[in-house]
């Protein structure tokens, strides 16, 4: 579903030099997989995730999603491709002046759906994330966990093939974290949506990922298989991350 081929990304440092955030990385993520990106802070997890929907443009390499090289698309085609890629954020990033329903409707308005289709899809998504009774509330009236459910419903609304999640539970308490993870897992299983999730918590990897890439200094050190609580890790880094959990 997602193929990153030899992608590179560097940022300008304040001193004028360059900082390699992602160096020559290749990664393949299968359809229907829940794939983790783990590593310590600054390892380049968020950058790698943002390269998948081209929020960051790679300096080299190809980003192939559902058979389409996103780096080759013009602005309009890229916008259309992005509608197939939902994104969930650590800080939720909901629109404060739109109701819950309005937030979930947003990507559908963007995609040009009819009002009737939007209304029924929004209701459906509210049901999926368990917020049917909150449709008319504003984000300010919700708890963190509820806000993230709205974030997930919004990402899910246009029936994307992939959902990208950048530390979706890092702003939440452990109990809420589990319920959000269950929600993502449920969506993955019911709709076959591929999920790529950035996290620094091993617990997250154990509870929902099928596989995970361990990142360090902009490179993939190892891709580990996850079978429930069993994580088959070889690299020292992966082991130290495991122990930290």
């Amino acid at each position: 579903m997602i193929h990153l081929q030899n992608i590179r990304k560097r940022f300008r440092r304040p001193d004028g030099g360059w900082f390699d955030a992602v160096c020559d990385t290749s990664l393949s993520i299968g359809a229907g997989e829940v794939f983790g990106l783990i590593g310590f802070s600054g390892a380049g997890k968020s950058t790698l995730l943002r390269l998948i929907n081209l929020l960051e443009r790679p300096d080299g390499g190809a980003v192939i999603v559902a058979g389409q090289d996103l780096t080759a698309l013009d602005a309009k085609a890229l916008r259309r491709a992005r509608q197939q890629l939902g994104m969930v954020f650590q800080q939720f990033n909901l629109m404060a002046n739109r109701t819950v329903a309005g937030n979930i409707a947003f990507p559908l308005e963007i995609a040009g759906w009819s009002a009737a289709d939007i209304a029924s899809r929004v209701a459906e998504c509210l049901e999926i994330v368990g917020l049917a009774d909150r449709a008319a509330h504003y984000p300010a009236q919700l708890s963190g966990g509820q806000k993230q459910r709205v974030g997930i419903a919004r990402a899910l609304a246009p029936r994307p093939k992939v959902i990208l999640a950048d530390e979706p539970t890092s702003a939440l308490d452990p109990k809420t974290t589990q319920s959000i993870l269950d929600c993502l897992k449920d969506i993955n299983q019911r709709f076959g949506v591929t999920v790529v999730i950035v996290t620094h918590e091993m617990h997250v990897v154990r509870s929902i990922c099928h596989r995970a890439a361990v990142l360090d200094a902009g490179s993939v050190v190892e891709v580990v298989e996850v079978n429930g609580a069993e994580v088959d890790a070889r690299s020292a880094l992966a082991r130290s991350l495991l122990e930290a959990a």
């Binding site: 992005r82 800080q91 990033n93 404060a96 002046n97 947003f106 963007i110 984000p139 919004r154």
Partner: protein, 228 residues
């Protein structure tokens, strides 16, 4: 004695009612034109100023620098000097340099960069992540501006417009004195040149009242629109 003066003042004002009404209409006209120009031209200018900042959708150091510099330039002119230096332009556009329509030209000229800065500041308060989320969902720049930026900033924009209106009520008094007419002009003409203090006091009270009403309405609308 005192009652007599008060009664006399009232009678005086009553006899001037048509003139006062005329002054109100002139002030309203000057403000309406100035505010319309500010919204129609200053608004988009403010959006461009914001979007061309580093890290924003259309980050462009040169565009941002040039526009920022121009806005500062116009804003650094004391209003009265701006007004005098714009006399040729006013004559070109309106065909005359007196009357409320002519006064509206320098008012607009000052209001555009002023409002542009207010809009820019207001838009800056929107969390970057919200705009990024819209980008990630495939929103076009126009959709981001209308559906995200303007909608998320709507209450701040109303507050900015309130500030602008009140500032320009006072600017319009200055413009009025040099031939624009309006409430401020009436106050000066009677109060200052003809020593009719009662007229001046009444006009100032009228301005105080108008400012309070504008501020009250602006606050009400802004807080109703704010769901944060």
């Amino acid at each position: 004695m005192e009652e007599l003066t008060f009664a006399a003042a009232l009678a005086d004002l009553a006899s001037m009612a048509p003139e006062i009404w005329q002054a109100c209409r002139e002030t309203a006209l000057m403000l309406a034109v100035g505010l319309a120009a500010a919204i129609a031209l200053g608004g988009p200018l403010g959006i461009v100023l914001y979007l061309s900042q580093p890290g924003q959708l259309f980050a462009n150091r040169w565009v941002n620098g040039l526009l920022g510099w121009t806005v500062n330039l116009v804003r650094s002119f004391p209003f009265i000097i701006l007004m005098v230096s714009l006399v040729p332009l006013t004559r070109l556009i309106v065909g005359s340099t007196i009357g409320p329509v002519a006064a509206a030209v320098p008012l607009s000229f000052a209001a555009i960069p002023y409002f542009a800065r207010l809009v820019e500041q207001t838009l800056r308060e929107i969390p970057r992540g919200v705009v990024e989320a819209a980008e990630a969902m495939g929103a076009s720049p126009m959709q981001i501006i209308v559906k995200v930026l303007l909608n998320e900033a709507r209450s701040g924009l109303i507050s900015s417009l309130t500030i602008l209106t009140i500032s320009f009520l006072s600017y319009s008094a200055v413009a009025g004195v040099v031939g624009g007419g309006g409430i401020g002009d009436l106050a000066i003409r009677y109060g200052y040149y003809r020593f009719q203090t009662d007229v001046m006091v009444a006009m100032v009270l009228l301005l105080v009242l108008i400012v309070q009403i504008i501020q009250f309405a602006g606050n009400r609308l802004a807080s109703r629109l704010d769901k944060r």
